[in-house]
Amino acid sequence: MASNSKNLAELLNSDVTLTATDIANGAVTTDKLADGAITGGKMGIQLGRRNLIINGAMQVAQRGTSGSISTGNPNYGSVDRFKTEAYDADQFVGTWAQVTDAPTGFSYSGKWTTTTAETAIDASELFDVRHVIEAQNVTHLEYGSSDAKTCTLSFYVKSSVTGTFTVNVYNMDSSRQLVKEYTISSANSWEKKVITVIGDTGGSNFGNDNGPGLQITWNLAAGSAYSGTPVTGSWAAYSGPAWSGANQSNAVGTTLNATWQITGVQLEVGDTATPFEHLSYGEELRACQRYYIQGGGPAYADLLGGQGFNITTTLCSMKTYLPVVMRAQPTFSYTGTPRVQNGQSGFNLSNLTGGFPSGNEGRLNMFNMTGTTSGLTLYQPMNLDANAGGGVVKVDAEL
């Protein structure tokens, strides 16, 4: 026994209460600890960078605080990294917005509102919210092997509709899916949901590349092409009718003014949902900007800090540095009227294009832009901004 342990006399006197001084330093071995006995709360610190989701607290909305839900291609209308879909919808009109209604500890949620309801969900229709994780960020999950890691998905949800909903977890590199159900018990109340995402020992792992890897879909309504097969809770090859199980509620899509909100989305390795990993706004913004950057806005707003010179009398070549290295060569677009100006005169542009300089893709954040106009003076230096009507540029490398 250690010198500071209970001695026989103390035990005979029924002094059986152990105190910290009765345990010798270094006496407690790892084997004496039960699995899961040490929780994050007991450690007093929150282990960092657990969350595989970007913008899970819905802090960042570069595109604006509200956008429309496309009835065609899934689109990013508001909250960064979360896209919506109303695939093949007929009558449906809806919005996807960043709102301040959120559970305790959060400032924002993403809110789906059905402003014109679908009269009926046809076979090919699918309504959902999605988040896609870049493949090289999930290769450590070791899917397709016996080492496949179990993850836990947790999120807060609130809806005007109660009932059974589904989450579809999809390996976009091997076209395999796991579907899990959750229940919204009370209308218009925040509820925390925890879903175990078992590792997939079948199929293949995610590619070690910048393409789409793991997709999480919160289904809100599904036609027969995407529903009907009961949930098994196991990974399987993609099957349309298994996409949302057999019990998915369709009421969010078919009910006027129906709402569905989400925040606090966390996907982490392990079988336990730990407290949400809050990041600063700046950290989340930088993470989002790997996929999308928006600049400009009001009259004369600077547009990404573009600076350059006129290479012809109609073309101005400019360079800038983006805040981060983007995921891939981005699609470039603008609204309003950008212009180039030399401090004395402004020249509205009839076109503005942009892309990575050749040979630097994926390594540097250098970005080239070319403006088209007329009446330029050859080799004169220029700055890029919006004209009096304002303007916005969008640099899109989303998954």
Partner: protein, 62 residues
């Protein structure tokens, strides 16, 4: 399940570029500039898929 509405695709080539600089194209009603050659760009990948399928033609640069 990409269902982009893609129209009016045309290559853009600036005087200082050896090869086409990009594709000016309308996607879902928005005029965008898509860089050439990176299949990691979802718009370029879909444009090329449709070109290969004979569903889309990209006009030459002016």
């Amino acid at each position: 399940m990409e269902k982009m509405n893609i129209t009016s695709a045309q290559y853009v080539q600036y005087p200082f570029d050896q090869s086409p600089s990009g594709i000016q194209v309308t996607i879902d009603g928005e005029n965008v500039f898509v860089p050439v050659g990176d299949m990691g760009n979802r718009h370029y990948a879909e444009i090329m898929r449709r070109v290969d399928a004979g569903e889309l033609t990209i006009a030459d640069a002016e």
